[in-house]
């Protein structure tokens, strides 16, 4: 009898101890459109990394992708995201403001204003560059047709718009009226405004519309890599562009509820490690880490980069000025 009792107690304690040590984690990463491949690679790396210090745990990471604004809205409306990795800081600001699941000072929680990798806007042109497009000024030449998504519905298109506007400012000595004139002319050369970056890529690549696609640098590289794209397209790097800084944040209220706060924070922190930065670079995102950046120097051409904070006063002032109803973008189309 006593042996049996002892065995039971031992078994019970083993089960109890086991459950206290080994945990099951499921993380939901709500991200934007072009990061699919990046996070597939990174999730595998992160699970390996986490298991080194927590060998008993099982970790599963789900990804969700879509237009940055749409994804932000789904988190506001109650999607159980543990982390968000979106295209614009403005979208995470809206989650903080309307959803209240992320603290308002989220950008101070991680290095580099919570933006572990960056990208920029480049031109994708037809092979051999038949229209001779080398810089922003060439986009408004007669007979050139430009493909870009609608800045109202696409995060990437907002970076495109600001890069073009920034060029308009710099080439006219900071004259806002001239910059508006340039951007107005530019959008006269846009025949189709798709709702998202992927839609524009389809219009340009599959439907053969336009002479130049304004694209994320990582999307442009991807278009070259896939289906013999390198034989059909060239990348043109303009003299000036914008530093696109896609931000990340833990959705703290959700993570606390799911008991994933610790692992979710680690998930984002690990993006800044050598391994994380290496994966970002391999997926054509510009790494923050200087060593990794030096290693991939050849891949990323050097160019003059504007930043949203220094040149446009951050998203909090750029969004209403350029993209809200009645903003600079609307003024192009609506007679004043």
């Amino acid at each position: 009898m006593s042996i049996r009792r002892y065995a039971l107690a031992a078994l019970a304690s083993a089960v109890f101890a086991g459950s206290a040590v080994a945990k099951d984690f499921t993380l939901l990463n709500v991200s934007y459109d072009p990061t699919r491949e990046l996070y597939q690679d990174y999730n595998a790396e992160f699970i390996n990394y986490w298991k080194k210090s927590h060998p008993g745990d099982t970790v599963k990471i789900n990804q969700s992708h879509g237009g940055s604004g749409k994804q932000g809205r789904s988190v506001i409306d109650g999607s159980p995201a543990d982390v968000v990795t979106l295209a614009l800081a403005g979208d995470i600001d809206e989650i903080a403001k309307l959803g209240k699941t992320i603290p308002a000072d989220w950008q101070t929680k991680l290095p580099d204003a919570s933006t572990p990798y960056t990208s920029t806007i480049v031109f994708l042109v037809r092979k051999g560059n038949p229209k001779g497009i080398h810089d922003w000024a060439d986009l408004i030449k007669d007979g050139v047709s430009v493909i870009t998504p609608n800045p109202k519905t696409s995060g990437g298109a907002r970076w495109n718009f600001l890069a073009a506007y920034g060029y308009g400012l710099k080439s006219n000595g900071g004259d806002e009226a001239k910059a508006k004139e340039y951007i107005g002319k530019l959008f006269k050369h846009v025949p189709v405004l798709d709702t998202g970056a992927r839609g524009s890529t389809i219009t340009f690549v599959n439907n053969g519309q336009g002479d130049v696609l304004l694209a994320w640098e990582n999307e442009a590289f991807l278009a070259l890599k896939e289906n013999g794209g390198a034989d059909k397209f060239d990348i043109v790097v303009p003299s000036l562009s914008i530093l696109a800084e896609p931000p990340v944040a833990v959705v703290e209220k959700n993570a606390e509820k799911h008991g994933t706060a610790e692992i979710a924070t680690e998930y984002l922190k690990h993006l800044y490690s050598k391994e994380g930065q290496e994966i970002a670079a391999k997926n054509f995102y510009r790494p923050r880490d200087t060593e990794v950046a030096a290693k991939y120097e050849k891949q990323f051409p050097k160019l003059n980069l504007l930043t949203i904070d220094k040149d446009f006063g951050g998203w909090k002032s750029a969004q209403p000025k350029f993209f809200d109803d009645g903003g600079v973008f609307d003024q192009i189309y609506i007679p004043q």
Binding site: G69, P191, D325
Partner: protein, 273 residues
């Protein structure tokens, strides 16, 4: 002298109760929430949103293209129904089944396929481009997508009514000396019109709200090829929930008035005098 007529089938209370609960959960409550949300706006704010130039341009475009598509389907759809009912030929069953395909296909797939075909360098679009006609990225393209999506409505409403009109009626008219056009005008048209109007109204209403297929072929240029449902999405992407509901409420009201008019017209036709 009022007498309560008790229906043959019992359970009126139960069935009505079920109907009301069902309608409330599926239709009334979601629509009411929309109205409540929009009521946060003052009348002036609401008016300013729905009369902004971009919204008005989109309003004209959405209702105009949906109307054109419904008319096209009203004519072609009646023809299709006629062929399917009055003639037997090999492959009739297959064509009959194909009519419903636009319902089954995800609308985005339809939109992408139509765009690829009708874009200026697409398989069909290139010939149109040679003639100087642009189809994709213009209101033509939108009408085309809507015609595709709303094809089944008129066919499926007219078909059974047409099948119920015995051939002998037409033959009798012919024997009495009616010319083919007169047969159509005095025999077929009055019998088909109520069903035709139902099909037309369904196609029109569906066309006004269609988003998935149109978005790829429309070009989405502000003031030119921007449909109302896209404007709602644009507002949502700016986190402007109230502005989006205001446009939604406006669309709903306009559609409701139009459908009501069509219903009244139908009644007048069904009960002459």
């Amino acid at each position: 002298m009022s007498r309560r007529i008790s229906p043959v089938i019992p359970g009126f209370g139960l069935t009505l109760g079920y109907t009301l609960v069902y309608l409330s959960l599926i239709v009334l409550i979601p629509l009411a929430v929309m109205f409540i949300h929009a009521s946060q706006l003052s009348a002036v704010q609401f008016w300013n949103i729905v009369t902004a130039p971009r919204v008005l341009a989109a309003l004209k475009l959405s209702f105009g293209t949906a109307f054109c598509a419904a008319i096209i389907n009203g004519i072609i759809g009646t023809l299709l129904a006629w062929v399917l009912v009055r003639y037997t030929f090999p492959g009739r069953k297959i064509i009959d089944a194909m009519i419903d395909l636009p319902f089954a296909l995800p609308t985005a797939v339809a939109g992408i396929a139509l765009t690829a075909l009708y874009a200026p360098n697409g398989f069909i679009g290139q010939f149109a481009a040679d003639l100087g006609i642009k189809i994709a990225y213009t209101p033509f393209g939108i009408t085309l997508a809507l015609t595709f999506v709303t094809l089944p409505f008129v066919v499926r409403t007219v078909q059974p009514v047409l099948a119920d009109i015995p051939r002998e009626v037409e033959e009798a008219a012919a024997c009495l000396g009616a010319k083919p056009l007169q047969v159509f005008r005095y025999i077929l048209a009055p019998a088909l019109l109520p069903a035709w109007l139902t099909g037309f109204a369904l196609a029109f209403a569906r066309g006004v709200g269609e988003y998935g297929s149109v978005i790829f072929i429309a070009g989405n240029m502000p003031m030119k090829t921007e449909i109302l449902p896209l404007l709602i999405m644009v507002k949502l992407d700016q986190y402007d929930y109230t502005g989006a509901t205001a446009i939604g409420v406006m669309m709903l009201l306009v559609s409701f008035v139009l459908l009501l008019l069509i219903n009244l017209l139908q009644r007048r036709i069904e009960t002459p005098n």
